[in-house]
Amino acid sequence: MSRNPLDGRGRLRVRGFDPDDGDETDTGTTAPTPATDRRTRAWDRFRRDRAAVAGLVVIAVMALLAVFARPIEVGNVVVQPFAIAPYDPAASGVAPTYRPPSLTHPFGTDWAGRDVFSRVVYGGRFSLSIGVIAVSLALVVGVPLGAIAGYVGGWVDEAVMRLVDVLYAFPFLVLAIALVAVFGQGFWKLVGALVAVGWIGYARLIRGEVLSVVERDYVLAARAVGVRDRRILARHVVPNAVAPVVVQATLNVGTVVLSAAALGFLGLGLPPGTAEWGSMLSAGRDTLVGGEWWVTVFPGLAIFLFVLSINLVGDGVRDALDPDAGADRYRTREGR
């Protein structure tokens, strides 16, 4: 007798269930809501985080204050005529030295008779710009290097990662100090030092993300279709790998500002007497004992406020970009 695993199978057949809609179109959708792209949804999530929005507002205000602190001239054209800061930040002797806060000098005056309020408001230019520029340039250097290292692999990856390892071995600040000490003071040299030290973290971070994104089916699908590697990297890999880097970068703006302040505090970075918050703290060191608290407290508060706001924004960005929020969680529950 022939053993047949198909014996008795297929006996049942349903008759009479004939859907009228004979064509095979799959016309339903599971979500009737109009198409909202990722950016809109992320922005909506960000907006709901009140602390993050508050942080953003504070930074915006500080930025505005910095821009409108004193007139800006490009060439000989006055681009920005307003001056919120009543006095020239560099002008010494506009008032008696070491005056406590008053109506004419809300933040008091320092040892050179300069208006501290003007200096703090104007100093925002340095701190904010250093923060944003240094981080942006570090991203421009670190992200492509790390992404290519992760995507291409092989000796390119080894080379970049070993470089990263070596540089990582040095404490951030020590390296920055060394670079400034070698190349001297000045705004761009300071930025350069911060970039040289800052790119490492982003490179490593994005390389790790790229390694995991590259395993995803849609990357393989793009290759199966015949898309060129260059384009796959730029269009599929990096955008999907970049979220943690964005979060890190936002938070790093605060770190960079602190580092610039630290370098300023040590007397490195910008020329002494510059109205940069860190340098102001440094120069005012002696006054902490002497009792003229306003010389250091206000710049210190400014640093604190800026870094706090940036951190709140960074947290908000991370939560906004988190794909695990809301409706997706319900759908995954039902499996398949």
């Binding site: 009479g16 339903g28 809301g326």
Partner: protein, 340 residues
Amino acid sequence: MALLEVEDLDVRFYTEGGVVQAVDGLSYTLDRGERLGVVGESGAGKTVSALALLDLLDDPGRIEGGSIRVDGEEVLGATPERLRRLRGGEIGMVFQDPETALDPVYTVGEQVAEAVRVHTDVDGAAADDRAVSLLDRVGIPDPETRASQYPHEFSGGMAQRAVVAIALAGDPDLLIADEPTTALDVTIQAQLLDLLDDLAADDLAVQLISHDLGVVAEFCDRALVMYAGQAVESASVDDLFYHPQHPYTAGLLSAVPRIDDDRDRLQTIPGTTPDLASPPPGCRFHPRCPYAEDACTKRDPPLATVDGDDHRAACLAHVDDADFDGDLDFYVEVDGEADP
């Protein structure tokens, strides 16, 4: 008195996209030693309702109404102490993916022993011994050695058996298995179903949740078909597969590919499952139903008796006072002949 009685269960998910009615008015019973199959596709609410039984739903899901009684005692609103005794003690649960059900940093033996300690009076070394005997009971060869291995050293089928062992640790009366074989190969699935067969013969009631009609046909005594969060048909498996009374069931049965059935082209049910945040008015299946009439858009059919208490279907065609004119003219042909 039935072992498990679910009455009018209502579960909602409060999501960004709106309120999703995941389970709507679900009622069914399960007797001691009975094997019930819960059949449905994705979004039917099978898993959600099972999690609700043990109050395992967390945000954004919430049980909004109904009653769940185990051995006559109400579960919803029970004290944490009672819930602890229930989970794993009276009701054991097995999930789909054995890899994630087991903690990778503890040996399998430790995990089974922990379950034993939590749900019985057995402690210490005796618990370890009992763990080994449980592993043996679920058909794991060489249980002594296996008990000291880690989950990653187990194959999928073996890991699933270990999960069953953990579920059995408290000597439960009811085992809820949610798609226990979906992640497994068909030959391994056969092994696991054999095991469940063996266990069920021991007076263990089993609620098997599956999208696989074949598995339900072979293993279960009775079946409950769910669609869009509601029960649409309830019957013995014989009745369900040979005399389906709900159009969705008929559609499912005609869509499932069967070996050796001489069909050229497969049947589909047009359309897709509805968005549970805004389900269709009236009967939730009506947009896809070839028998739908006007009345179907207005009234949500109750789970009405078709043939004695044992066979029920939620279709207006079976409700006497409904404004339904047509006939459900589908039927099951056996071996080329219509079955009486």
